[in-house]
Symmetry: C2
Subunit: 249 residues, 2 copies
């Protein structure tokens, strides 16, 4: 019995990862410098071809490990969106599935290494066009940042940028960096601590910083950064994002 339908076209499929972190008070993205054509010398998102028998998240995790030199997945990874296959790679039709990683700052393969170099770059500068990005990676980055910004409104994912235990001020610094705002510390404290199922007091206090020590919190179990918890809202009503700062001090 011959179920005859034409042989389907096949496409190379890549995964790209927009890895975001907060450091030095700003949102940063992980970029690598391309050592091969096309776009040799340009910067690009880490990523690469999906292998037979792989799932998408699996492939994204592997590429992140290979290109940034990270041992374990350091944060929260989710699929962002797919792009292509038409008109995004000079070599031909290539479909890419972009992913979003939100993570605390982690060390990457230092620039200057002979093989490949990965580094953190301020998102603001990259989006402003200060670096030349390969393929459609500028568009992907832009979509990823918008996704991250809106995720902070209604999900507990701001905490994905923090270490397992963190202060309210550290969490607020994440919001301020991602949203480019200066949220009111008192109102933010009220919202963060007053939202059921969001934070859990560890009982411990921060030490060593200037000023009064702050209580250390962790994510409440219900809010743990898993796909299940973040699909639905935890911040309800959401923490709405004010207009971004207009760019002066």
């Amino acid at each position: 019995m011959n179920t005859s339908y034409p042989e389907p076209a096949r496409f190379p499929v890549t995964v790209d990862v927009v890895a975001l972190t907060v450091s030095a008070g700003a949102l940063q993205v992980l970029l690598i410098t391309r050592l091969i054509e096309p776009f040799k010398g340009s910067m690009a998102l880490p990523g690469g071809f999906v292998l037979p028998g792989e799932g998408l998240i699996e492939a994204a995790t592997r590429e992140l490990a290979e290109e940034a030199g990270v041992a374990e997945q350091p944060g929260y990874l989710e699929q962002l969106q797919s792009y292509g296959p038409k008109g995004r790679d000079p070599r031909g039709d290539v479909l890419t599935v972009a992913h979003l990683l939100l993570a605390p700052n982690f060390p990457v393969i230092a620039a200057g290494s002979d093989a490949a170099s990965a580094g953190w770059y301020p998102v603001k500068d990259v989006l402003a066009g200060e670096y030349s990005l390969a393929f459609d990676h500028a568009e992907i980055l832009s979509d990823a940042v918008e996704r991250a910004r809106s995720k902070l409104e209604y999900s507990p994912l701001g905490a994905a940028f923090c270490t397992p235990e963190f202060t309210i001020a550290q969490l607020r610094a994440v919001y301020d960096a991602v949203w480019d705002t200066k949220l009111d510390p008192r109102n933010f404290h009220r919202k963060a601590t007053g939202t059921p199922g969001f934070l859990e007091d560890t009982g411990k206090m921060s030490t060593g910083e200037a000023g009064r020590p702050a209580a250390l919190f962790r994510l409440a179990p219900q809010a743990h950064t898993t796909r299940a918890a973040c699909a639905h809202a935890v911040l309800n009503p959401p923490l709405m994002r004010p207009a971004a700062l207009t760019g002066q001090d």
Copy 2:
């Protein structure tokens, strides 16, 4: 000069469309009956292989036209998520990019046709497992419905289920069908008409129905159902979804 890296693996790529509409007071999904293996006889989302030189939305539009027999894209179409390539097709690794269509009720190729038949099925019944769905289409449908539900909270996309001009009650019926709620007509009216940039009064009135005639609205230009408008919130603060009805009258 030989930039030698291994030839990348290639995968068949499909697009699937979760087409949703509201009719008979309930959310309905467009399903076709599979006439070929695998899953011959099962129901499935309309979809098919991406062709060389196609973009994803383009391919989804084409498949919708081919399998449901619709001439023009009847509503709002956006990408949902990608699935695979591992472990979702018995024939091997196939990547699928699922799409979401929100549309007013439109006629499809009638069941009983010899070639293929498409029809609307109540989402509630399909998700309850009353039909056997091919591949991972049950999971895709579930994700799509959740996406649609959350879109109604902060975007004007409820109107994508309506004809170009509609009453507040028709829009509310959409919300009630998608969310499985019975929103208060008075509060809904206040929110819908009171949200700047959402609705625009046509000046016309509905006729022929029981009860007092209702004013006819259309989407405000700012809120028109395009990707640009719906990426950002129009309903701000959002219209939060109450708990769904528990299942009695």
